[in-house]
Structures are given as C-alpha cells and as structure tokens.
Amino acid sequence: MSLLLFDTLLCGLLLALALASVLSRQLSHAVILYIAFGLLMAMAWARLAAPDLALAEAAIGAGLTGALCFTALARQGQLALSPVVSWQQRCWPALFVLVTLSGLLLALLQIPASPGPLPALVLQELAGSGVSHPVTAVLLNFRSWDTLLELLVLLLALLGTLQVAPAPVRQNSWALSRSWSQLLAPLIILLAGYVLWAGASQPGGAFQAGALLAAGAVVLKLNKQLNWLAWRNIWVRFFAVAGLGVFVIAALAAWLLQGLAAEPVWLRWPPQLAKYIILLIETFATLAIAITLTLLVVAEQPDTPLSLETQDSAGGSDD
C-alpha cells in the first residue's frame, strides 16, 4: 500500500514537472524543471529495479544535460519571456496528442504481463559470457555490436559538435569554486574506478564510470583547469579514439584467433579470455566516454582544425 502511494507520488511529480517544463513561460524555468525531472527519473528507475540506469541517468540526464542546457541558456543572452502561443495554436496539437495518446494506451494495455524468452536465455548463457552482471554481459558480449556502434555515435556527435562549436562565452572562475572542484576531483576518480570495477558483478560499468569522470572534468574545465584537455592535444585525441580502436582491434584479434576454425564468428570472445577482454575494452571505453562527454559539453571554437571558422570567413558572402 505504502509502495503504491510512493509510486503515485513519484508519477504525479514526474508528469507535473514534465508538463511544467513544456508549458513554462520562461526558458530558464523550463531548463531547471527539466533537470529536476531528470533527477526524479533516476529515482523512478531505482524503484523499477534498474540501478544501472539510475546511475547513468543521474550522471547524464540531470548532470551533463543540465550543464549543456545551462550553457545554451547562457548563450541566449538576456532572459526574455517566450512568445505567447495563441489558444487556437495550442488547441489542435493538444487534440492530436490526446488522440495519439489514447491509441498508444490501447496498444499498451494489450501487452502481455509475462516477459519474452530473452531474460531466461540471458540467464542460461550468462556463465559463458565472462562477467556475472547480466546487463554488462548483454552490453559487451551478447549485443556488443550495438555497443560498438553506440561508441561511434558518441564520437560522431563530438565530431559534429567540434565542427560547429561556437565562440566561447567569457566567464571568470572564483577561487572558492576552483578549490572545491580540485578537492572533488580525486574523489570522483576513485568513485569512477570503483564503478568501473564493480560493473563486472554488480550495477555499474564503463558508461556510468565515464559519465562520472566527465562530470568531474566538466566542473574542472568550467573552472579553467585542465587546459590540456582539448581536441588539438594529440593524446586527448588518441584516447578519445582508443575506446573504439581497442574494441575493434580486440574483435579482430579474437576473430583471427578463431581463424583456425572453419567459420570465424565476428565479435565472439573466447570464453576463457572473455573476462579480460571485456575489462580491457571497458577501461578504454571509460576514458573515451569521459573525454568525449567532457569535450561535448565544453567544446569551443578555437579548439580545433575541424572547426568551420576559416571556411565561414572565406565563403560566407556567397549570397
């Protein structure tokens, strides 16, 4: 009973925050409400037996997305009220959304209460995967191709962002926040290492650890520390790319190892080595994720030869 009360409260708050974020008159309010929404979402996921996701959501949904949105807000300059949307303009979309929602609900109600065959299959094959935490096994063994492509998506977003990164917003840093961020840094590194290591047997893993590290690095970067952490630094580039590189090279090595067999299978880890391969991939992926996420949040224009600035000044007067 009390659990149901808690659930109702949680769901009500989530809906209220989302609605308020969409409808609020000021953009800054919308962003703040969205960050609160992300934090509550993390709680909902912890409630729904998804601690891995709660960790990731707290670091990403509330932390990094919040920082991103605030940076975007800071670029908007003076805070103006949103233009008013007239009643007629609101009415039709609302009607459309309500109709869609009821269709979606009708479909959702037909979903069977019993899960499909995959969870049992995962449990059955878990012993051969090299790790004992099922989510990590799915991510880095059963469906590792998805994870590889996901790392690529992350890298690609970074490439795109570096290309269009705007000119920096000038800001100064206070001594207090600087020293506090320096105090936090070792703590965050310790915690990230723990989360990475724990991933093999309990909730945690490369992505959560990377996101944590990135959060720490973003705070330091915003305080004008870590000046070496920029795309033009070859080592930074190397480690940003190494996550994918190590993944692919490990896969190639495993593939060649089976080459003696008749039909080699892509991305199959040899069972006795699986544990070490996964740990190796995760370590490099953590670093790559941390670097990529940090640069995504704090990317600024003069950083990189990829940026389009030179081209803009040359060919901007085409029309």
Partner: protein, 116 residues
C-alpha cells in the same frame, strides 16, 4: 484485458503520458531549445516504458532476475545516443544564435575577439 498489476499500470500510464507531453512540447515549441527539451522528455518516456517492461520479469517468477537485462542494456545504449544527439543539437543551436547575432552586429564581435 491485461494482467499487469497496479503499480506497473501506473508507471505504464506515466510513460505514455510523458511521451504525449513531449510530443506536444515538440509541436508547440516555440523556442528551439524547448523543442530539444521536449525531445528529451519523449525519449525519457520511451526509456521509462522500456524499464517498466523490463520490470515485468520480477513478478513472473520465471527467472531469478530482478529485471530483463536485455531491455536495460538497450536503454543504456539509447541514453548514450540521446545525450550525444542532444549535445550536437545544442551546439548547432548555439552556432545558429551566434551567427544570427553576428549578422545584426558584425562590428562589435570583431572587436571583442582579440581579447580572448
């Protein structure tokens, strides 16, 4: 029709409503930044739906897993994709606003640049 229990039904309803709220926000806007937020709300709703569906496993007693790990892994992948896309969209937006302000006051920007 369904045999889903009370709490699950509640979360299912919330997830669908979040998607609906996000779609509404995406259509209405009016600022681009709010559209990006709305997209994030849609994806939060979809991920919540996935997490709720994953949670079905715990009640059924078919396995000793707390939740469907496949779906949870998919959500993790989806989260990364969502945050990457959001970051890229925000960078584009910032560039868009910068170039529109440059067009209105190109001289002023030229003066401030050497300071940095």
């Amino acid at each position: 029709m369904t045999e889903l229990s009370g709490s699950l039904l509640l979360f299912l309803l919330t997830a669908a409503s979040l998607v609906a709220i996000g779609v509404y926000g995406f259509i209405i806007g009016p600022e681009p930044l709010r559209r990006i937020l709305a997209l994030n709300i849609i994806s939060a709703g979809i991920f919540m739906l996935m997490v709720v569906l994953a949670y079905r496993t715990s009640g059924s007693g078919a396995t000793e897993l707390a939740a469907d790990p496949v779906l949870q892994a998919l959500v993790l992948t989806g989260l990364v994709v969502a945050v990457s896309a959001t970051a890229f969209a925000l960078a584009l937006l910032a560039r868009l606003e910068q170039s529109s302000s440059e067009m209105s006051a190109p001289l002023q920007l030229k003066q401030t640049e050497p300071e940095q």
